[in-house]
Amino acid sequence: MSAHAAVPALELSGVSVSYGQTHAITDVDLSIPQGTLAAIVGPNGAGKSSLMKAVLGLTSATGDVKVLGKRAAAGRHLVAYVPQRRSVDWDFPATVLDVVLMGLYRELRWWRRIGRGERDRAMQALAEVGMADLARRQITKLSGGQQQRVFLARALVQDADLYLLDEPLAGVDAPSEAALMATLRNLVASGRTVVAVHHDLSTLQAHFDWLAFIHRKVIAAGPLTECLTLENLRSTYGTQLLAVPAVWEATHA
């Protein structure tokens, strides 16, 4: 992989997304290097999900998006997506294993049955997130943290190079949070890249090593130690975050 080490995992150039008259994000330039655990933060309505959708090709965007130097479909093939667990109605007849196997649908032709090999891969992914013993459980019976881990396992079976997660730790209990972060760190350790929209400023420093502040455009981006400054916080959150000083202290405890 060292030959490609210079190529950013994710590169956005002049990316803008608008819905009718509303401009969600304007002229975003972002370059996230490989092998980082990156967080994208910003207040509500800052355009974080629009950014994510642009990368995934889910919304019409102007500008250039490259994943590991590749554009469009070729690039998107290298991406695995973990949506917010709240975006799904969990009242669905399926087991945990069923959901993880869905991660393989993209690569299987419709006539190919799901066999031993596929099941093994899925079980392995479940083991990674610590859910292997719950493989046969109905998903209606999962806790929030368990749901999130299942989603992550589903992404893991894709064996992607870039993992995009939308608020993966929101409403997740402590054990699940620990399991999730452990898995993400393992991914990064093996050379992959993780980019997560993150909601909780107080845990930034604990979990991530790279940071991008977004508020309709990029306010600041870079390694976390350089980027996480009081000034950047103020510029991004403005009057929204009354507790900036408190956050600052918490992150620098």
């Binding site: 669905f92 087991t95 649908y105």
Partner: protein, 283 residues
């Protein structure tokens, strides 16, 4: 006993029964998707909105032959369904409101056209009212061929599109991100549902067809642990209810078949809900 055998062997009973099984099976199976996608009303909207197409089909072809009438029903029902889907994607209107509008508008238009046709010269128009509640007893052998064909078509479609359909039903965002053509899948599912509904109009009628789609699926949900289980369970319950309803109504004069089928299917759904041991979903 010989009476029962004679009854069950009677060709009319067999034809009506076979039609019921085919229709109930495919409707109950597809109903799983309608229910899981929270689009139960979609089937109802398409059934009610098929009425103007029935009348226009008759007006265009000038006679009572099935082809143009059912083609018209398919076009108007499908148009209403797709319109409702499109409307619900717009920011200001939720899907239930969009479906409600489609349903009422379509049905009202149909009734206006129907009464207009009845009052006009040109004749041959009586019998269009049979589409409101169906006329199961008038099921002919030719109808069975159409139903069987539809079952084959719907099954083949679902087999090929199974994984995309499952994925879009469970997690639409993830499906889109996985390069699944979500809108195409939507249209496909709506299409097979519309086909089923149109073929069911002559047996069960416009007003009640939706119940045959929804009730078996609701029942099956209580007892299934996988999507395939729910689809097959729905098909079985749908076929069984339809057959029971048809047989019961055939056994005595004065019992309307279509409504009776729906009563049986709804009763099964009611029992399933009452005896369900599923816990309520955790937050």
């Amino acid at each position: 006993m010989p009476d029962l055998l004679a009854f069950l062997g009677d060709p009319t009973v067999l034809i009506v029964g076979a039609g019921a099984v085919l229709l109930g099976g495919v409707a109950g199976g597809l109903g799983a998707f309608a229910v899981l996608r929270r689009q139960s009303l979609l089937g109802d909207a398409m059934a009610h909105a098929a009425l103007p197409g029935v009348v226009v089909g008759y007006l265009v072809s000038g006679e009572r032959s099935a082809g143009p009438i059912l083609a018209g029903a398919l076009v108007s029902g499908l148009a209403a369904g797709l319109a409702a889907l499109h409307l619900s994607r717009l920011p200001r209107i939720k899907s239930d409101a969009a479906l409600g509008v489609s349903l009422s508008l379509g049905f009202a238009l149909g009734v206006v056209l129907l009464t207009r046709v009845q009052g006009s010269a040109g004749g041959h128009q009586a019998g269009l009212e049979a589409y409101l509640f169906g006329q199961a007893a008038a099921t002919l052998r030719g109808d069975l061929l159409w139903l069987a064909g539809a079952v084959v078509l719907c099954t083949a479609t679902m087999v090929v599109a199974w994984r995309p359909a499952k994925l879009t039903t469970f997690d639409r965002e993830y499906a889109a991100a996985s390069q699944v053509r979500v809108r195409l899948v939507d249209a496909l599912l709506t299409g097979v549902l519309a086909l089923t509904i149109v073929l069911g109009l002559r047996m069960v009628g416009v007003v009640l067809m939706a119940a045959l789609v929804v009730a078996p699926a609701v029942a099956a949900r209580q007892w299934s642990s996988s999507l395939l289980g729910m689809v097959l369970g729905g098909a079985a319950i749908g076929a069984g209810s339809a057959l029971s309803g048809a047989l019961i109504s055939a056994s005595a004069p004065g019992l309307a078949t279509g409504p009776l089928i729906v009563v049986v299917a709804s009763a099964v759904a009611g029992v399933a809900l009452l005896t369900s041991r599923r816990e309520s979903q955790r937050a």
